[in-house]
Symmetry: C2
Amino acid sequence: MPDEPTAFVPGHVTGFFSPAPADDPARAGSRGAGLTLTDGVAVTVHEADEPGVVLDGDALPMPPVETVLSGLGVADRARVVAESDLPLGTGFGVSGAMALGTALAANVRFGCERSANDLVTLAHRAEVEAGTGLGDVVAQARGGVPIRLEPGAPAYGRLDGVPATRRVEYVTFGDLSTAEVLAGDTDPLVRAGEAALDRLVDRPTLPTLVAESRRFARDAGLLTDRVREAVDAVAAAGGAASMAMLGETVFALETGLTDAGYDASVCRTCDAGAHLVDGG
Amino acid sequence: MPDEPTAFVPGHVTGFFSPAPADDPARAGSRGAGLTLTDGVAVTVHEADEPGVVLDGDALPMPPVETVLSGLGVADRARVVAESDLPLGTGFGVSGAMALGTALAANVRFGCERSANDLVTLAHRAEVEAGTGLGDVVAQARGGVPIRLEPGAPAYGRLDGVPATRRVEYVTFGDLSTAEVLAGDTDPLVRAGEAALDRLVDRPTLPTLVAESRRFARDAGLLTDRVREAVDAVAAAGGAASMAMLGETVFALETGLTDAGYDASVCRTCDAGAHLVDGG
């Protein structure tokens, strides 16, 4: 094989969600909706005596990645090297992307002969077990603008989508701990998330998705001051924006943040789900 | 809206299949597997007093497209203009692509506010009712290398995939009538298709997919002389090729047909499923 196998996994901002716990991590997850992004994570898997995970040049522990490698039986000889367009811990699904990209690339590198659904399931379970995400992996596997109708890995979950493609802008002010939010009282999240999903299913368009995300963030009490200010500024400039779940990150359709005077990063919704780009 | 909405739908070559009829066209379809292609069909929908369908400059009747437009309630005012990289009737799923691309683009053009699954269901039903295809639409909606585990539209069907991306070559000698083949004795197809699917699920790789496709085409008695000659020539040159279901078309991985001396068209497996490209 000339090149080491590399997978690209789109970033994913969740706009609203309701946690759906279950004893079996393949059945656990969340309902909700969000946008996958052309900004994402490229994950390469090497065979090496020194296993480990490197993200943007820094070695770091990443439990979901290690769980995926163990599930494939290659934890003692895989070195994972990832380059991310997006910061970790700020609501872009970077840890889910690392887990799913590792599954796709390691499957090729070590000839594991797993199916796409098997690899998504491995990564989804690993994320749920680590408490780092509930719905990113299945959304990132799909691409586009995923609606998560039922929680869980492919054998249990059910996805639909908003049929649209659009320019997306984002700014990040800081990180939030998914695990910490989920450890608190999640009843308001569940109520607000289910109401938002009902309304989006009734009218599956991008403007509805962003409007329901904004209502969810407010009703669930998750807006920080900096995020509220940016979201309000975009609305005042005639645009549509909301907060990424879970990070101190604001995303907007089209030129929403730029029009409001922010120095935003620019990408698009990602037409393709996670896929091998080289050596696959 | 500055531009008329346009959808791109990848081509799809089915390598093997087993028909799965049902009274409800949303539950009918086929099991099987194939490759989606970066060569495909771009479909634009205009509002016009003169409705109609134009493919590569020629007006033609296309019942699945008309059924989709009727399902969206816009048959009297939609003009569908498509450009295809691939010939019609030769096993590339062009009619499925026309139906699905029309659904995606018309949904935007006329503000129908349907979900992705709703649009796929409309197009799948229309193809099944017209007898022009059984599994192309759901495969084209997914992208990649789809395995159709269970037949039917998203509410009923079940998909997996071979996690791979690869250069694909193809040559076309002529057309075959899907409706005619399906009107014959389909028992050998069902037996050969189910056996091939079992073996691919057991080992979901591209070489398995092509090898099982070759065995299926032979066992089901569908190889024409020209197709057999090309498939054998690719194998003799060390490559992997089989026949597209249903057309007098041969597809090969990597440089298989070129290595065997054929003047082949070149594309890749398509990482993205059907999606809006403009005005969406």
